[in-house]
Symmetry: C2
Subunit: 237 residues, 2 copies
């Protein structure tokens, strides 16, 4: 087992098992090994195994009952909005179809978030969006720089400006989706200026308190990414 610094034993085991479960390494029929077997396998105490099991159960991946052992829960019960679960999923199946589902979610969340930001965001919130946009422009002007981080900050700051905790809570989800998305939709450093301009239109709409316009601009932005992905899916066939 790869020892990860700064993580205690049960967290490391949680990571290992979580990854393995989502990768489908355990037959749904036969279930997981018993606690005792896991102890042997990882060379750790039962306490550590039990704590890892509890963490995975809290994330909806497994359930354990006496005599029945530890069982993998159906995938529909998994907490997909848990950061760890999300990471394990992308590690195991980075398929285009998952990416499309990601984008469909972004298409639901982000335009609405932009509209809410235009309506409810404080001046300070909007300033943070402006800051992120500045960083994007700097990166676009510099051929060596990457605007990846600034892009993430831009979208996150809009979620925050929505002043709705449920939208902001999805920041890790959106960041993850966006990161994977960028790797597929930005083939080269050619169109950075265009991308930055599209983002600027969203910011302007929010600054001018135009919710509908902000929503439409965001929809347009994500739709562009969707077009890329759908083309790739078709091309792969």
């Amino acid at each position: 087992m790869a020892r990860i610094e700064n993580l205690n034993l049960s967290q490391q085991v949680t990571n290992e098992l979580g990854r393995a479960i989502i990768a489908g390494e355990f037959n749904a029929e036969s279930g997981l090994p018993t606690e005792a077997q896991l102890c042997d396998e990882y060379g750790i105490s039962r306490t550590a195994v039990r704590e890892a099991v509890k963490m995975l159960a809290a994330k909806g991946l497994i359930s354990s009952r006496p005599r029945q052992g530890i069982r993998v829960e159906p995938a529909s019960n998994w907490n997909l909005y848990d950061t760890s679960v999300l990471k394990w999923m992308l590690d195991s199946s980075p398929s285009m179809l998952v990416l499309k589902e990601f984008l469909q979610m972004r298409m639901a969340i982000e335009p609405q978030a932009a509209a809410l930001a235009a309506e409810y965001g404080t001046d300070e919130d909007i300033q943070h969006i402006a800051d992120a946009l500045d960083e994007m422009n700097k990166a676009a002007a510099d051929p060596k720089a990457s605007m990846h981080e600034a892009d993430l900050a831009f979208h996150t700051s809009i979620l925050f400006a929505s002043r709705n905790r449920f939208f902001f809570q999805l920041r890790d989800f959106i960041r993850t989706a966006l990161s994977v998305s960028i790797q597929h939709t930005t083939p080269a450093k050619g169109n950075d200026m265009g991308v930055a301009e599209d983002h600027a239109k969203i910011y302007t709409a929010i600054l001018n308190r135009q919710p509908e316009r902000a929503k439409n601009m965001m929809t347009y932005l994500i739709d562009e990414a969707m077009t890329f992905i759908e083309a790739e899916i078709k091309g792969a066939k």
Copy 2:
């Protein structure tokens, strides 16, 4: 501690602590009691406490480090889409403002889900929507019946028909939001027929594979609920 059947010790403690944390019963500065104190307080072993702590940590509510003790994480780190966390939140602060945030999320998710259902839902998926609609109509015709359950089933079946795991994953969130919403927006048994008709329009659009129309009809439906809530918020001032 209220003993709940069918839940093991650590899960019961998890519930108690989770509720208390979200209710803000622990000072963010001083943090939580130590493991030993919790053992005394609940009269249980450290094993049970530790497992509860691990479950709460998995949900993002707390973190525990040597010498620092158990600390409440900032609310922005809480896993709001975890069913338990959601339940604890509603138990502690059932305010109108939270309800409005709920509706803003529904406004983002459900219209998009309806559009996806119209585009990708299988015939069987759509049949399930029809079944739920039938139940709603029956309840609307019967003055003694409640269409609450059928209403929940209708919205859930659309999430399922979206054929996107991230949308369907939000079923508990939507159901919870809808349940609370119904209690505030349906003052009496007067308008059930009208409600059923609005739902029927969504179904028809999905059946006829009209994504945009399905989206618009769903937006209209949720907007009606939003109007109720905003009126109540203003009225309370």
